[in-house]
Subunit: 222 residues, 2 copies
């Protein structure tokens, strides 16, 4: 029986790279995508295409409308504008405790299907001030997961795998290209346009990454 | 401005006691109830009545249908029978990572509304083998919450308050009675019947608690 990994898949560049990395590590892929009231459905649509590309047997899409209900982020609250330039401190695009919530649900799923790893594409290099992308959060989360689940009693541990945590966007893209990651299917723009804006923080980071990796970004910019 | 606490409110005896305890500690109460595909809606109905009893301004009810989708528990999976007697090891009523998921979402809510505590009625005494009711899980969860949120950066900590963690059911009931906790509105039966079964693990624990506290359980048994 092949070993299983749950992949937190947003349809973005990093999580899609994690699909390639986990596959390369010999895992059977179980992507899980969260629909948390992002302003647009584009992330979910692209995640479905990425899952299809990898021919997965099961792709879970989880509705977390509550995150939109409570607001508190420019990504989920229409009353808060998405900034066009990088911000000081914690950005307005920070979604409260998002990674903790995603990893909690992904770990419950991992426990039920017997997966030994949960992959997430967080990067501490590009984290732009998000508290829940820091290595100390990930280490604490992994401990908590293994106390919260049967693993804490039976000893079958669940690993929170963060292969990109110390990688720049350039390094992520270089790694992904060697693995044939379908970057043409990914989306990064905060504005969720079919043609990326090329202006927001996220688009700028992505474009810089491709440029530094000496490759052309295959998605369309307006 | 009064200080705020989020209360993970299931409509059961312990979480309802936490409403009384947090109120007594001077908190403005913000209950949050999770509808996670329990076999019955009775818990949610009773939680609504408890919230009304306390006259709260806002009661959030969060749909977590995903926990039912992934199954793995007798409480959410109709294919697994609820046992009538206590089990060895981790019981079949264990819901994968439930408390980690609930506390993650409750903490995100606490962050947005500026609450300084999240109350949960877990008890390590009566935990019947649930890994996510152990004090070491709670301690780890609290650390993780404070790394995952803005608290981790700004220093405004969120406390995971577990006033019942070292309490027997008898002690919980004795405490609650001094606070006027409306036990007639609570439900504990795993079978979710309007009249409690009196036979399941949860009913037995509750009946024993009232008996030892020298009080009569005000709910109706069939």
């Amino acid at each position: 029986m092949s070993k299983k990994a749950v992949i937190v898949l947003s349809g973005g560049l990093d999580s899609t790279t994690c699909m390639g990395i986990a596959k390369d590590a010999g895992y059977e892929l179980y992507p899980i995508t969260f629909h948390y009231g992002q302003r647009h459905n584009r992330e979910v649509e692209q995640a479905v295409k990425v899952a299809e590309f990898y021919g997965v047997a099961d792709h879970r899409i989880v509705d977390l409308d509550f995150l939109k209900q409570i607001g508190g982020s420019a990504l989920t609250d229409e009353k808060i504008d998405v900034p066009e330039t990088a911000e000081e401190g914690i950005p307005s695009t920070y979604v409260p405790a998002r990674n903790m919530i995603f990893l909690s649900l992904a770990s419950a799923y991992a426990e039920v299907i017997g997966a030994e790893a949960v992959y997430t594409g967080v990067s501490a290099v590009d984290y732009s001030g998000y508290p829940d992308c820091r290595p100390e959060f990930i280490a604490s989360m992994e401990s908590t997961v293994n106390l919260a689940t049967k693993a804490g009693v039976t000893g079958a541990r669940i690993q929170i795998a963060t292969p990109l945590i110390d990688k720049t966007k350039k390094e992520t893209i270089e790694w992904g290209l060697t693995l044939g990651v379908p970057y043409e299917l990914t989306t990064s723009c905060y504005n969720g346009l079919e043609e990326a804006c090329g202006v927001c923080d996220s688009c700028q980071l992505r474009l810089k990454g491709f440029r530094e990796a000496g490759s052309e970004d295959p998605i369309i910019y307006r």
